[in-house]
C-alpha cells in the first residue's frame, strides 16, 4: 500500500434498519492533504467521518488509517475485530473535533489539553502541561489556560478542542462541522486556526458548510448525496464547475 495514503476507505456501507445511510464510499486521503466533504444534511458526511475513528461501526467495507484497518487486526488476510483497549490505541492516533466542542467541563482548559497525553500516552504531567501551553498559545488562548470551559466563548472552546486533539500528535485530524454551532462572528478565528494547521502540513478530513474554507484551503472537495460520493476533485472543479445537477443545486442554495 502506498505510504503516502493516510486514509483509505473501501466500499463503506452502513444501514440503520432498512435505511441505508452509506451506500459504498471509496475515498483516499494522501498525507498532508485537506479533503472537504460537502453535501446536504442527511447525505452521510458526518456518519462517514465518524466511521474513520469507529465512533460508528459500519456494516460493510474497510477503512485503513496509516496502514492499519480501523477496528480490526489483520492476521493472514483475515480481519479480526479488536477489543476496546486495542481500538482505543488506534483512536489515539486520529484526532477529532466535534460540532459541539465536547470539552470536559470539570477540567480547566490546560487540563483538557493535557488529559490525553497523560492518560493515554503516559507522558509525564509536567511535560504534557508544557506542550499544552504551547498548543494553546498556537491557537491564541495562552491567557485562558486556567479557566473552566464554561467561561469561554464557543469559538474559544472550539480552539481548545483543536488543541486537545493536536496534543495527541495525530496522523490525521477529523473535523465534524467545527463551526456550525458558533455565532457568525466567531467562525473566523476557528477557520484561521484550521487554515494554519493545513499550511503546517496536517492531514485533515473536514465536514463543513464553509464554502470559503473549501475553496481556499481544500486540496480535494468531495460532494456527497444520499450516502454516495457523486462528485469529487479540486475545489475549482467541484465548486467552480460542478458537473452533477445535485451538486449545482446544493451550491446554488449554499451561496444564496
Amino acid at each position: 500500500m502506498n505510504d503516502d495514503i493516510i486514509v483509505r476507505a473501501i466500499g463503506v456501507r452502513k444501514r440503520y434498519g432498512t435505511n441505508e445511510v452509506l451506500s459504498g464510499i471509496d475515498l483516499t486521503v494522501e498525507r498532508g492533504k485537506v479533503v472537504v466533504l460537502l453535501g446536504a444534511s442527511g447525505a452521510g458526511k458526518s456518519t462517514f467521518l465518524r466511521c474513520i475513528n469507529r465512533l460508528e461501526t459500519m456494516d460493510e467495507g474497510e477503512i485503513w488509517v496509516d496502514g492499519e484497518p480501523i477496528g480490526y487486526r489483520e492476521v493472514d488476510g483475515t480481519l479480526h475485530e479488536l477489543r476496546e483497549h486495542a481500538l482505543a490505541a488506534q483512536r489515539a492516533d486520529i484526532g477529532m473535533v466535534f460540532q459541539r466542542f465536547n470539552l470536559f467541563p470539570h477540567r480547566t482548559v490546560l487540563e483538557n489539553v493535557a488529559e490525553g497525553p497523560v492518560q493515554v500516552k503516559g507522558v509525564p504531567r509536567k511535560e504534557a502541561r508544557q506542550t499544552a501551553r504551547e498548543l494553546l498559545e498556537r491557537v491564541g488562548l495562552s491567557e485562558k489556560v486556567d479557566q473552566y470551559p464554561a467561561r469561554l466563548s464557543g469559538g474559544q472552546q472550539q480552539r481548545v478542542a483543536i488543541a486537545r486533539a493536536l496534543a495527541m500528535k495525530p496522523r490525521v485530524m477529523l473535523f465534524d462541522e467545527p463551526t456550525s454551532a458558533l455565532d457568525p462572528e466567531l467562525v473566523g478565528d476557528v477557520l484561521q486556526v484550521m487554515t494554519e494547521l493545513a499550511r503546517d502540513g496536517m492531514t485533515m478530513v473536514v465536514v463543513t458548510h464553509e464554502m470559503s474554507f473549501a475553496k481556499e484551503v481544500a486540496d480535494e472537495v468531495v460532494f456527497m448525496d444520499g450516502g454516495r460520493i457523486i462528485e469529487s476533485g479540486s475545489p475549482g472543479q467541484v465548486i467552480g464547475n460542478p458537473q452533477h445537477p445535485r451538486t449545482r443545486q446544493f451550491l446554488a442554495r449554499v451561496s444564496a
Binding site: R100, F104, E115, Q119, A165, M168
Partner: protein, 322 residues
C-alpha cells in the same frame, strides 16, 4: 373633546415637573408576612406551654440521653448506617455498570437484582437474614476440590443481629443506589464519552476520569437523601433486638417507666445525627458542583452550612430516573 382636554392636562403636568424632583414611592404592604409571623409565634408559644403543662418528666431526658444504653445505641446507629451506605454505594455502582453494559446477561442480572432487593420491604429483608439459620443451619465456604474451609460456622453465630440488619439495609439500599448511579451516568452528555474515545482513552479511563466525575452532580443529592433515610431505617433493626437508638429507648422506657421521655431522648439523638449528615451532604454537593467551583459566593461558611439544613433536597432519585 373632553378626553383630549384630560390628556393635555396630564401632559402638561408631567412636562412642568423638574427632572430632579422625584415623587415619593410607597412599597406594597406585606400584611401576610406580618400576620403569619404572629400566628406562628403564637402557635409555638401555645404548643410549648401545653407541653410544659403535660405529663413529661423533663429532668430525666438528659440522663437517658447520656445513659450507657443510649450511647451504645447512638454508636450502633452511626456504625450500621455508615457501613450499610458504603456497601450500598459500592454494590450500586457495580449494578449500575452492569445495567448499562453491552453484555445482555449482565444487564438481566442487574435488572433482576434491583427488582428483588428494591421490591421487598426492608423489615422483611432484615427478618429473612436474621432467620437464615432456618434454611442453612451451618454456613461453610470452602475452596472446591480441597478440604480447605475459609468459613465453617453455625449460621446463628455468623449472622448476628448486626450482620442481619447490615445485610437487609445495605442490599435494599444498593438497589436504590444502582438506579441513582444509572440515572447519573445517563445524565452525562454522550459527546463527553465520544470526545474521550477519540483521544484514545479506554472504557475504564473514560468512566473514572470523564463520566463519573460529571455524573456525581446528579448522584450526590439523592444519595444524601437516601443516606438520611438509612439513618432512620436503622430503627427497624430494633425488631431483631439490635441495640440501636430505638431499641435503647425501649429498654430505657421499661427500666425508668418513662416511655415518652425515652422517645424524646431518642428523637433528639436522631435529629442530631441527621443534622450532622446534612452538613456532610452540603460539602459533598459543593465539591461536585462545577458552577460554584470557579466563582464561589462570599457568604460566611456557617451561614451556608446553616442554609443547607433547611434547604430542601435538590431532586429525588425517582424524578431523575423518570
Amino acid at each position: 373633546m373632553a378626553v383630549d382636554m384630560g390628556a393635555t392636562e396630564a401632559d402638561t403636568m408631567t412636562a412642568d415637573r423638574q427632572p430632579t424632583t422625584l415623587m415619593p414611592k410607597v412599597a406594597i404592604k406585606r400584611w401576610g408576612r406580618a400576620l403569619s409571623g404572629v400566628l406562628v409565634v403564637a402557635g409555638v408559644v401555645l404548643l410549648g406551654y401545653s407541653i410544659s403543662r403535660g405529663q413529661v418528666d423533663w429532668a430525666i431526658i438528659p440522663t437517658q440521653m447520656t445513659s450507657d444504653t443510649m450511647l451504645e445505641g447512638v454508636w450502633n446507629v452511626v456504625k450500621l448506617a455508615f457501613v450499610a451506605q458504603v456497601i450500598a454505594v459500592v454494590i450500586g455502582v457495580g449494578v449500575a455498570l452492569m445495567r448499562l453494559s453491552p453484555n445482555p446477561v449482565l444487564r438481566w442480572v442487574a435488572f433482576a437484582y434491583t427488582w428483588l432487593f428494591r421490591g421487598l420491604p426492608v423489615l422483611v429483608q432484615i427478618l429473612l437474614w436474621y432467620n437464615i439459620a432456618l434454611i442453612y443451619p451451618r454456613i461453610t465456604i470452602g475452596i472446591p476440590f480441597t478440604t480447605v474451609d475459609i468459613v465453617d460456622q453455625s449460621s446463628n453465630v455468623l449472622v448476628t443481629a448486626f450482620v442481619a440488619a447490615l445485610l437487609g439495609l445495605a442490599l435494599n439500599e444498593s438497589a436504590y443506589m444502582a438506579e441513582i448511579v444509572r440515572a447519573g451516568l445517563n445524565s452525562v452528555d454522550p459527546g463527553q464519552k465520544e470526545a474521550a474515545q477519540s483521544l484514545g482513552m479506554t472504557p475504564g479511563q473514560i468512566l473514572r476520569r470523564v463520566v463519573l466525575p460529571q455524573a456525581m452532580r446528579v448522584i450526590v443529592p439523592p444519595t444524601g437523601n437516601n443516606a438520611i433515610n438509612m439513618i432512620k431505617a436503622t430503627s427497624l433493626a430494633s425488631v431483631i433486638g439490635f441495640v440501636e437508638v430505638t431499641k435503647a429507648a425501649q429498654n430505657l422506657s421499661s427500666r425508668d417507666l418513662a416511655i415518652i421521655e425515652a422517645l424524646f431522648a431518642a428523637s433528639v439523638w436522631y435529629m442530631v445525627i441527621v443534622s450532622i449528615a446534612n452538613v456532610g451532604q452540603y460539602f459533598l454537593e459543593r465539591r461536585y458542583n462545577a458552577s460554584t467551583r470557579d466563582g464561589g459566593g462570599s457568604r460566611a461558611l456557617l451561614t451556608r452550612v446553616g442554609k443547607s439544613l433547611y434547604t430542601p433536597p435538590v431532586r429525588r432519585a425517582e424524578e431523575i430516573t423518570s
